[in-house]
Point group: C2
Chain length 330, copies 2
DNA sequence: TTGAAAGCGCTAACAC
DNA sequence: GTGTTAGCGCTTTCAA
């Protein structure tokens, strides 16, 4: 049977409130009794019941991480795996725990409401993958009055967020591609309703126009495999003269495009390639890829910091925190 | 302010115990009152407080996933990212939540006790990355009398687990390499005290001996980058005649070895390569790699199933569940 | 079928 | 400095 604070109190011959104070490092307990209680607790390996504490304090010490639900955006993608790992570590350091909230599809392919989870879980805060959060869910989160931060920016709601400097980073990346000698660059990009997509496209435009190049070869697509493949084919069919391809997102999306290129007889070797998202793996490819590397650890860590600032009642200074990307040449 | 069961009771003009029964689908409530309560609850978007429920029921509906702490074994590795994603999904389907428990290193590089988290969290069950779980932690988990399953096998304790068939899979992979024409195969492998390492080495031995080949070129190393690099160098220095390399683990470990090979002037192209762990990325390398692909989704899903069987009081039929690997030729 | 009441293990006023 | 007491929001007997 698990020990409770009552047993500890009995063993130490004090009231349970005294035990509570001693254990939580509050004042109002003599040095002597405190030590005695602490010793006993340690000896019997006492650990306060989490649920009881949460109930009494109305504070669970649990942070929820709401993953976006999207093809290629699961934990097995490069991006979220890195960010979640960093967040988990940062959350642990603060004595809290990270709960994964991944929206589920039901039989009909509808995304199940994650609201219930959020609402019932008495979570202390939320880190939310911002992009494809629908307005309905957003509204219900706000109704909870629970602190949250976005990773990436949400088109509907401006709120505390951490993201990379998409436009500038994209500009830099494309500028680098131009420096590498490419002039006719096609751009395959994600859904237009995601803010970062639009920003990265803007960066593409900025760079191309500054160099006096044609920036009209842009195609939007969803991240689903089939769409990505179709769009890739369309791109090379309608623009047989392109000498480079800029892909504004990484992970499986990029791999699907690479594969399509290869299968359609176009060796990626003949094409300049730029990807907004790095992976160490690109070092070993049989063609070279220029990338914008996002500081995944920093993103996860900073989001966590921002969240805890809010939880502790402070108002974070910056609402929108943009981290720089690093251009990786290969 | 959040609504409680009391408010609902008041609105429905019944006792809160009746509300509780109605909401939880228990019998002892007339069809009529039940409907009335349910309607109200739905209308006001009522969601029971999670902590209170957990406290009253001594059941939290939270599953903990204990990640191994090891270089290259964070969520950003291929393996765990895949397994955790699958587990998270399976857990959600059952109306539970997944909590990430990642052991932390403190300043001195010691691994902090994850026991506290486990003990205090009133978790309903644990999915544990088995390999490098130290005995002390293991003992304290057992003392909690909380259901758990291993992913991978633990050398110290035989318990419910799901894993791949390491020996057989390794054998198959090496046999395939031999079929590909390689005869002098070196084997770089992980720490000897991990069971799967030993099993994969056994598989290597099986295959080599069956083919009448020399299976003595085996080197163990930790997964830390520096060690991996040193061992790789040692392997090629002491065995300049090898025509292939078999690496018994994937992720960053493999990448470090690849990189070392390249930097030391040995093009991986000249070497047959086999890796126990697949990644889609290997399709795009400038050298070819034969791999054993582990069914990550299945592993995560099956572990979750096994855990819930235990939680519901059933005794799973098979204690040790070995899934087959798939050999991928490139 | 319904309701009253006790209790889950803890915290936090407030007395003493 | 210490103990008493009253909750936190829910479940669960047990009477009515």
């Amino acid at each position: 049977m698990k020990l409770t604070i009552n047993e500890i109190a009995e063993m130490a011959q004090v009231a349970k409130s005294t035990v509570s104070k001693a254990l939580n490092g509050q004042k109002g307990v003599s040095q002597e009794t405190r030590q005695r209680i602490l010793n006993i607790a340690k000896q019997v390996n006492f650990q306060p019941n989490f649920a009881a504490k949460a109930l009494a304090q109305k504070k669970s010490n649990i942070i929820g991480f709401v993953l976006p639900h999207e093809a290629g955006f699961s934990l097995s993608g490069f991006y979220w795996a890195g960010v979640v790992t960093a967040a988990a570590e940062e959350v642990s350091k603060r004595g809290n725990n990270l709960m994964i909230i991944s929206p589920l599809e039901n039989e009909e392919g509808h995304i199940l409401e994650i609201q219930d989870t959020i609402r019932s879980n008495s979570l202390d805060g939320l880190i939310i993958g911002a992009e494809q959060l629908d307005t309905k869910t957003l509204v219900s989160i706000m109704a909870e009055e629970i602190p949250f931060v976005f990773i990436g920016q949400n088109s509907t709601l401006q709120h505390y967020c951490v993201d990379v400097n998409n436009r500038e980073g994209s500009d830099k990346l494309v500028t680098q591609m131009i420096k590498n000698g490419f002039k006719k660059i096609g751009c395959i990009t994600g859904p237009e309703d995601y803010q970062y997509t639009r920003e990265r496209v803007e960066g593409f435009n900025d760079a191309m126009k500054r160099a006096g190049l044609d920036s009209s070869r842009i195609m939007h697509t969803s991240y689903y495999e089939e769409d990505a493949r179709k769009t890739t084919l369309k791109m090379i069919e309608e623009n047989p003269d392109i000498d480079a391809l800029y892909i504004t997102a990484g992970g499986e999306f990029t791999l699907n495009i690479f594969e399509t290129l290869r299968f359609s007889g176009i060796s990626p070797k003949k094409l300049g390639l730029g990807v907004f998202d790095d992976s160490r793996i690109f070092d070993f490819l049989d063609f070279s890829v220029t990338t914008a590397k996002q500081p995944l650890n920093q993103i996860g860590a900073m989001a966590t910091q921002l969240l805890f600032e809010q939880i502790s009642g402070h108002t974070p200074e910056e609402k929108i925190n943009l981290l720089p990307v690093e251009i990786i040449l290969r």
